[in-house]
Every structure is written in C-alpha cells, then in structure tokens.
C-alpha cells in the first residue's frame, strides 16, 4: 500500500487531504467529524477579531456539479468564542490549522497569537477571500502588504505560518514570493475566483453581495496553474486548493508542485465521506502507478520534456514561436 503521509509546514499528515477553510469549520464538532471521516487535517473557518454574521442569503449559487459561487462574507464567532471549538477538534487528535483574517498587519498578528494559544499546529492567513471589504484579497492583492502581514505574524507566533493567496491577480506567484520573503513556512493556492451570477427573469444579481467567489471543478485549471507557477517561484511548500474531487485531481496538484491539498466544495456535492473516498482512491492509484510514496511525486511534472515536434507541423506540438 502506497504511503500517503506528507509533511508540510510542520504538519505531519496521515494523508494530504486537508479540510479547506470555510467548510464545516464553524463548530468544533464538525472539525472533529471531518478528521474522523478521513481528512488528514483540518483548517478552521477564518476567524476575525469580532463575531461577524456574514452576508444575508442568498450566499450561494450552484452550477450542477461543476461549480459553486459563494459570498458568505466571512461569518465567524470571533476569536473570543472560537477557542472552545478548536479544543474540540484538537481533542480528536486532528492536525488543526487556524485560519485568520484581518484588516492590517497588527490585527493579523494579534489574531495569530490568540489562535496559536488555542493549541493549533499552524496558522493560515486568509489573504484571499474575494468578497469582503477591507480584508481577504483586498489586503492580499499587494505583495508589499502580503509581506508586511506575513512578517508581523511570523514575529508573533512560533507555529508555522501558511499564506493563502488569491488567484484574482495578474501574477499570483508574486504573492507567494512575497510571503516567502517575509518568512512564510508555506503558501496555499488558491482561494475562490471572483465571479457573479445574474437572474435574467429578475434582472438582478443572485447573491445578496452581488459578487462572490467561484469554487469547485470549474476552477481546478486555475488552481493548477497558480500552484505550478508558485512552485517554480518559491522554495517553501505549496498547498494546492481548488476543485479537487478525486485522486486524479490530487495527483495533478501534486505533480504541479503541491505537497498537500485542501478539499472544500466537494463536501457539498458528496458529503464528508469524500475524504475517505479520495484517500482510498489515492492509495490504489499510487499502487497502480508503482509509486511507493506520494511525496516522490511533488512537482514531478516540472522539467518534463515537451512533446516531440511533429514533422511538418500541423498536428501535435505547436511551438509557441514560429
């Protein structure tokens, strides 16, 4: 049986599948449940300084099985209330990553210290939620601010720090590089892709917030490209996120350079059993491929030889400069 264990940002995971932030993470019982259902570890809901209701409904729009648009608006119970939820997840033995969001470096640093005190094994910085004013991708758009926030958090905590970067940027890898330069231990890519839906009959946006973030299989190619480019740009580990619903998806991300992955929207489509199902599939697939350890494949698609030129052109490989 292939070895699915991975180590990333100080986390020793039994398999590379992390529960993505924002999914099931508001309550401790749910975090625990995700781990017990087979996740290698869990990332909490993004927690802020104060309780926050998020936006009114509709907060989601779905597209059959290929995608989902959401504008939850970062609802969370606030850092004063949240420790007891984390305690419940830790009691199950789950590797727990505490996700936080803030308006500036000071707030991030304060929240990081508070969440570290709960016993989490790492902190993930939400620099990438595309639908909340003054936080998320609004602070994560600018490499200088990414670096400033990362540096402040690194100074405030001892646990590893993961910067979650946005794909809504011309050069997401530059955000990964900025995080690395400021001492981040890993980056996760990507958060949702900004999008919206309009109802023709009503002539109005569907989401109460108007715009939201697209997730699910539709964004897997976007996530893969960001992971690929981040892997080429930084030396710290990359965690792949976006549209993973199968072992094959995991392997694509790993080959692109991801050392672990986060799974989110698939939970809505399949239920929490998705973790156990993908982990089992992954072990079988690696056995088929004759790969003993998943970690051997991290980034293995980089440096692959380009497809051979077809004599006379016309078919197959088309060179970019003719």
């Amino acid at each position: 049986m292939a070895d699915l264990r991975v180590t990333v940002a100080g986390l020793s995971l039994r398999n590379p599948l992390l529960l993505a932030s924002g999914i099931w993470g508001e309550s401790g019982a749910s975090l625990r449940g995700a781990f017990e259902a087979g996740a290698g570890g869990v990332v909490t809901k993004s927690i802020g300084s104060e309780p926050r209701d998020g936006y009114p409904n509709p907060t989601i729009e779905t597209y059959e099985r290929w995608g989902m648009l959401n504008a939850m608006g970062l609802p969370n119970p606030g850092i004063d209330e949240y420790p007891r939820e984390i305690a419940q997840a830790l009691s199950a033995g789950a590797p727990v990553v505490g996700s936080i969001f803030g308006h500036d470096a000071d707030e991030f640093a304060r929240l990081a210290a508070r969440i570290e005190a709960t016993g989490v094994h790492a902190v993930e910085l939400n620099l990438s939620c595309p639908h909340a004013e003054g936080v998320g991708s609004e602070v994560g758009q600018d490499p200088a601010r990414v670096a400033e926030i990362t540096r402040a958090v690194k100074a405030a905590v001892r646990v590893p720090v993961i910067a979650k970067i946005t794909p809504n940027h011309a050069d997401p890898a530059s955000l990964a590089a900025a995080a690395e330069s400021a001492g981040a231990d890993a980056v996760s890519a990507i958060n949702t892709v900004r999008g919206m839906a309009i109802d023709v009959r009503l002539r109005r946006p569907v989401l109460a917030h108007g715009t939201g973030g697209l997730s699910g299989p539709a964004i897997k190619p976007v996530g893969l490209a960001c992971v690929w480019q981040a892997f080429e740009r930084v030396k710290i580990p990359v965690i792949g996120v976006g549209g993973i619903t199968s072992a094959e998806d995991v392997l694509e991300y790993v080959l692109a350079g991801a050392r672990a992955v986060e799974v989110g929207t698939a939970v809505a489509f399949e239920g929490i059993g998705v973790f156990g199902r993908i982990a089992a599939e992954l072990a079988r697939r690696l056995d088929q491929l004759g790969v003993a350890r998943l970690e051997e494949l991290v980034g293995a698609a980089h440096g692959a030889a380009p497809p051979p030129r077809t004599p006379g052109g016309g078919q197959g490989y088309i060179p970019t400069s003719v």
């Binding site: 309780p51 009114p56 597209y63 119970p77 209330e81 009503l202 809505a268």
Partner: protein
C-alpha cells in the same frame, strides 16, 4: 442534488392565522414530507422552510418571526420567489399508530407527513398547541385525517389551558402508539420526548436551525455532530440524546452559540 435555484410565481396566498400565511407555487422537483426548500424573496433574504404541501402545487407556511419572514407574509399571488431544494430527509411513514404533537408553526411540517401516513393506512391522533385560539394552525386540516385532534392554548381560549405537552402523557396512556412525531420549540419537544420515553414510545423531531448553504457545507446549521440541512431536519429522538445543544442553545448567523 436539486441545488440550482428556480424562480417561480406564487399562485396562491392563504392567511392561516394572524401571524401565519401559506404560499403555494408550482415547483417540479418531487418532495417527501419532512423535507424543506430554501425560499428567496428577491431583494431580501433566503430562508429554509419546511414544505407544508409536498404535492402540486407545493406550499410553505410562514410565521412572522424576523424581518424577512414578516416580509414574506405580505407576498401576493403573482410575485416571484426563488426556490431550491428540496433538501434533507423525511418522516418514515411505517408506524401504524402515530401521535402528532405540533407547537405553533411546527404543525406546518407535520400536516403533510400526517396526511401521507393517513393515506398509507396509519391511524393518527393530533395534539396541537399555540399561544391563543386564533394562532392554532391546521386544526381543520388535521381533523380531516386524525381520529382525534386535541388542542391546547397558553391563554385557555381553546382546549386545554396550558402547554400542549400536558396532553401527551394522557393521550399516550389511552392506547398503544408506535411513534410520536413532533415539531415546535425545542423545549417543548424535549418535554414530548420525556413523556413518550416514560411509555417507551419512540419520538421523531423536526429540527430548525439557522441555514445558509443547505448543502452540508457552511456549518451554519451545525447541531452537535450533525448538520440539520443534510442529516435532518427529521431526527429520531435517540440521535439527539447526546447533543448538548438540543433545547439549550443554537448558533447565530456568526456561528456564535447563544442560549435558547
């Protein structure tokens, strides 16, 4: 998964009580009693609502609670609303003799389940409670299928003066029952469970929690180890036994726990 939202026209508006209105609409996906839909009032919020009519046209029965539910009360025929679902599980119609205990608007989800059970040949007794006579919901509707309908009002304007839970023990004492179905305030449901467990009759509860995605993803409706939207809303009481939140606390929109 019927997760794609459909815009439908409200075909009928039926005032049920001073604070409760039923809206009927055609919506194709099939539903079973106990399931709920997410209903969007464009320009306003989207709320989870148990179907009070699961056939065609479907219906939801809304009680004025917060701002959005009050706005739903003034929706007129012809208005457009968004529907997605149905979601969640249903009542098991196997029991042959069922006591239905509804508190306030909780009767909305029990009525279609009771009708389906009656069509299935089950025998029913109903105990319905409300603050006052005019707020009693679906007494006539239940009267058409139940052998007996008992009512209770807090102010004594109809039936037993007091809680509907006072009726449960005596009714169960009068004959064998295979099941109690209940929906209403959680404190009420907990009392129903105590009364029924004393007579070894299994109880099934329909639960309500704040909901956002209704897809088992966002965690807004977390209740112990469950998500009401996918693991419920119908729960056998034994599944709630080790849920400390039951009848004690719920979560606000932020996920913060507040005492009931």
């Amino acid at each position: 998964m019927n997760s794609v939202r459909t815009i439908v026209e409200v075909s009928e508006r039926i005032p049920e009580t001073p604070s409760t209105v039923t809206l009927r609409f055609s919506y194709a996906p099939s539903a079973t009693p106990g399931q709920f839909v997410m209903v969007w009032l464009p320009g306003d919020d989207e709320l989870p609502m148990s179907l009070s009519y699961t056939g065609d046209p479907k219906g939801v029965t809304i009680k004025a609670m917060g701002a959005t539910s009050r706005h739903f009360l003034s929706v007129e025929p012809g208005a457009l609303v968004g529907i997605r679902g149905p979601y969640g599980n249903s009542f098991d119609l196997a029991p042959r003799r069922i006591l239905v205990v509804g508190g306030g608007s909780g009767t909305a989800v029990l009525a279609p389940a009771a009708e389906a059970a009656a069509r299935n040949g089950s025998r029913l007794v109903a105990a319905l409670g409300a603050t006052t006579e005019r707020e009693l919901l679906f007494v006539e509707r239940m009267g058409r299928i139940a052998e007996t309908v008992r009512v209770a009002t807090d102010d004594g304007t109809a039936g037993h003066a007091g809680f509907v839970t006072d009726l449960v023990g005596p009714i169960l004492g009068q004959g064998p029952f295979d099941a109690v179905w209940t929906c209403g305030p959680e404190v009420m449901m907990r009392k129903v469970i105590s009364a029924a467990e004393a007579r070894a009759v299994p109880v099934v509860c329909s639960m309500e929690r704040h909901m956002k995605c209704a897809l088992g993803m966002c965690d807004a409706c977390a209740l112990g180890p469950y998500h009401v939207c996918v693991d419920g809303p119908v729960f056998p009481a034994e599944r709630l036994r080790n849920v400390p939140e039951f009848a004690t606390s719920k979560r606000e929109s932020s996920g913060r726990r507040v005492r009931l």
